[in-house]
């Protein structure tokens, strides 16, 4: 009986997800498509929670729906028209549809076959046995920052590369129109709360769902909110500090790795006694880096005065 209910819940979630994906991809208006995409991200967060992936649920809600949604919404204004039409010929339509259908059938068979063939050996047993020496008790954080720390280092490098591309290509988008006093009021309450919650997520990532990426993205969300409420706040950024913050994550990570290499003969091989502290230090630097990177990605390009280094700090324009 319980299984039937769970199956009903799961099938409803799956149907809704597929429906949202279909309407996102086949919508005629860009604004509508982006809104549906944000909704799909939130539904995905619920599905992650249902599939016992709470870290991912947090990350998807903040990054996948929040930051990504804000990015896409602000990018709509870059393009002159918001109508989506497909210019492919009917023959091409037919070819693409057939190809996709064939691929779906093949992939479904592959997935079904792979699930049947699995020999039941799960990595969770291996991870659980090594958690006591990893320095944290959240298995995902242990995997992310200890067992597969090198992947996380490369991930931070990827984020930095993307932000460098954003900075090289464009100046920031023009400041948007004056914002609403209601938004400013709520921002004044919400941003300190977001900063505290981000610090909480960073701290609690060691023993409960959370961690550096969720915390960094939440800080970025706070900065995006500030940018929306006070459109000229980017003029107050200390650009030298911003550059330092961008690379602080990778710098700290590599430094710790090299230090551990000199102590234990292997890059990023933590001494078990210090593992917890080292992970916290790396996570803190990574949080700040990710926050700076995602904020710059949202701003869309070089802030005012990036090349010359002198920028105007105006606090008077939007006081209120």
């Amino acid at each position: 009986m319980i299984e039937i209910l769970w199956f009903l819940v799961d099938s409803m979630l799956v149907l809704l997800l597929l429906a949202l994906a279909w309407t996102t991809c086949s919508s005629r208006d860009v604004m509508r498509a982006v809104t549906l995409f944000i909704a799909m991200g939130l539904l995905l967060a619920i599905i992650w929670a249902r599939l016992k992936a709470p870290d991912l649920a947090l990350a998807e809600a903040i990054i996948g729906a929040g930051v990504s949604g804000a990015l896409l919404l602000s990018a709509i204004s870059d393009y002159p028209s918001t109508a989506i039409t497909s210019h492919r010929s009917p023959l091409m339509h037919g070819i693409i549809n057939t190809f996709t259908l064939a691929l779906t059938i093949l992939m479904s068979w592959a997935v079904w076959h792979g699930l049947n063939m699995s020999d039941g050996v799960r990595l969770s047993e291996q991870v659980s046995s090594q958690i006591p020496v990893s320095g944290v008790s959240n298995p995902v954080t242990a995997v992310l920052l200890n067992f597969r720390a090198y992947d996380t280092l490369l991930e931070l490098a990827v984020v930095l590369t993307a932000v460098l591309a954003v900075l090289i290509l464009n100046d920031k988008r023009a400041d948007s129109a004056a914002s609403s006093p209601l938004l400013r009021g709520m921002t004044r309450w919400l941003v300190p709360l977001l900063v505290v919650t981000s610090g909480y997520l960073l701290w609690v990532g060691a023993h409960a769902p959370g961690g550096a990426f969720q915390a960094g993205a939440m800080l970025a969300a706070a900065m995006i909110l500030l940018q929306l409420a006070y459109p000229s706040i980017h003029r107050g950024f200390n650009l030298y500090l911003l550059r330092v913050l961008l690379v602080a994550g990778i710098f700290t990570f590599v430094l710790v790795g090299l230090w551990m290499m000199s102590a234990n003969d292997d890059f990023l091989a933590y001494t078990p006694a210090w593992a917890g502290t080292l992970i916290l230090i790396i996570e803190t630097a990574a949080t700040i880096s990710i926050a700076a990177a995602l904020t710059l990605a949202y701003i869309g390009g070089r802030p005012t005065g990036w090349e010359t280094g002198d920028h105007v700090i105006t606090g008077k324009e939007d006081a209120g």
């Binding site: 994906a21 995409f37 992936a53 990018a75 990595l123 991870v127 992310l144 869309g300």
Partner: protein, 104 residues
């Protein structure tokens, strides 16, 4: 009654197919970017469905970590694609304006 793992894996395959079809059909940047993100979401779903081990058991943390990395990388790639698109768009409108002025 298919297992939860199979149900969500098939949903992931479906998501990937929907995104792939839309990527191939459209020619503007923003719809294709959305469709690529949908593809990515489908792949993540397959990962997490395979990592799922029942309501009582512990889910596999390694695919969780991989997908977490994937989510962050996906948003960075989206940001970079949007920056490229914006630069291309401004270049195109510059070229069209200078050509229009030459025609006059």
């Amino acid at each position: 009654m298919i297992s939860t793992q199979l149900l969500y894996s098939l949903a992931g395959v479906g998501l990937f197919a929907i995104g792939l079809r839309a990527t191939l059909l459209h020619h503007l940047l923003l719809p294709r970017l959305l469709a690529l993100n949908v593809c990515g979401a489908g792949v993540f779903l397959i990962f997490i469905a395979v990592a799922y081990a029942g309501i009582e058991g512990m889910a596999d943390p390694v695919p969780h970590a991989l997908v977490l990395t994937g989510i962050v990388v996906a948003v960075s790639a989206t940001a970079m694609a949007l920056a490229l698109g914006r630069r291309l768009e401004s270049k195109e409108s510059e070229t069209m304006k200078s050509e229009a002025m030459k025609d006059e």
